[in-house]
Symmetry: C2
């Protein structure tokens, strides 16, 4: 009587299309731990097969999409997950192989819109080819922010007001397809993220503080982060990592509040330990 | 039968408490043209009496508030308007004269909040001393954006959609006391102003474009600007000037849309001419 890992009953062959950063190897490990048969397609320039410690990892250039599809079909893999950061593709990496040429019109269309449009196009492409596209959090929910504090510190009572104001703001922005994050400090909204990204927004607040243009008491600044309404969490889940926390501490903020289950944090234990070290709270809220 | 300027019937003694920039001298001229008897209190370090071409101009340090109040009372001036940018006050400029000391507790309280709070405190202070505080636009409406285009160019049909989206966003933000301006480009909101100010927001977009992180067609980027709900337009009306237009052009945007009558533009004819020169539209909307 050895039933194996509890989740093995639901295990399947899964391809991880992997960009850079610490998330893809971690997802591969968690998926393998769950009993899934994992194949990693490491995107050249962003990830390397060696990072994954799995036999079944191969490198692909973006222009080798045709080859990847053929390999997935040969391996009878119908489930894929895309995770990790992609660098600005080089001309060489995009150069299509003959087997990729026929897919170009689809991507030419997808490229015409913004990033969201492109991601949607990529999902539609794989679905059109008969694949099921999963989100990293469906495969491994422990990659996301859990409910409650990740480290020892909790948001102070004083911060609660800022937090609820911040989340209300993000909700009000959501219909405009903008606002994954904001910073509330000194009892007001001091920064709202749009195209610049979370790190640039934090850096801006740090700069305003450094130049004396913005003042707030230590402990009175919070980063709030949540997905936008209708954001496709399968391919575009908000994420924070160690660098985010370091920037938050550098800007003199007191902590980070995340929509639990909806923001990638990678290794929440490690992030909690870093939060403790930096004197921050990091908390998942419903 | 010489009735003098048409508005002379309603003319009164008016003190202009003047900071830096081109607005204060222009307001002084327009107010004098209307027949008002103008006294200028030029705040040292920001403005100089000589800028105003009026006999009745004097320089005051911030710490000379008591002296200013005495002078206004002596001149039986009950109406004041505050306009222009203030530099970060130096320690010396703040040093209170004996006649100013008794007012300090009021300002100590006002300083404890953000900028809005401080402005409110200043208005309340003067009202408490029996003055009527006017907005520059009440004295000289031609300082604000008129309805329609300021130069030859009008917003394109394509830009109309971005503009209405931008103003809807600013309205949605207003209850949160944030968002005097936003940039819409590539059919989406790419930047929202909070504590950093309009110029820094435009610079950020220019930077994202320069680094290839943001792409939009020439003609597909618009700056929208309007007051927040409940903003005290007497002392805190949003403003744009020649530099704003130069930054907008530098960021590759196609134009600027302002809430007519609610955003200071200084000399709308000169700003329209600059818009033409830069290939931009600048338009006031209802």
């Amino acid at each position: 009587m050895n039933p194996g890992p509890e989740s093995a009953a639901a295990a399947f062959s899964l391809a991880i299309i992997a960009g850079g950063g610490e998330y893809p190897p971690r997802l591969a490990r968690l998926a393998a731990d769950r009993g899934h048969k994992v194949y990693v397609a490491a995107i050249e320039g962003a990830a390397a097969p060696a990072d994954f410690g799995l036999d079944s990892s191969h490198a692909y250039r973006l222009g080798q999409l045709g080859r990847l599809l053929n390999e997935l079909k040969r391996r009878q893999i119908a489930d894929i997950v895309m995770i990790g950061a992609l660098p600005r593709p080089s001309f060489g990496s995009l150069m299509p192989e003959p087997s990729t040429l026929k897919y170009l019109p689809h991507f030419a269309r997808a490229f015409r819109g913004g990033d969201d449009h492109l991601l949607k196009g990529v999902v539609q492409f794989f679905e059109g080819q008969g694949f099921r596209v999963h989100g990293p959090a469906e495969i491994a929910p422990e990659l996301t922010a859990p409910l409650g504090p990740l480290g020892r510190r909790k948001a102070t009572e004083a911060a609660r007001d800022a937090i609820s104001r911040g989340f209300s703001l993000l909700e009000a922005l959501s219909p405009f397809d903008v606002g994954q994050a904001a910073i509330v400090a000194d009892h007001r909204i001091v920064a709202i993220e749009a195209a610049e990204g979370t790190d640039a927004m934090i850096a801006r607040v740090a700069d305003l503080v450094a130049r004396g243009r913005l003042k707030f008491d230590k402990g009175d600044g919070v980063l709030v982060k949540a997905p936008k309404q209708g954001q496709d969490l399968r391919v575009d889940m908000p994420a924070i990592g160690p660098d985010t926390l370091r920037h938050v501490a550098g800007a003199g903020l007191s902590g980070v509040v995340l929509r639990a289950g909806n923001v990638l944090v990678g290794d929440s234990g490690r992030l909690g330990a870093l939060a403790d070290e930096l004197g921050l709270f990091v908390e998942g809220v419903p």
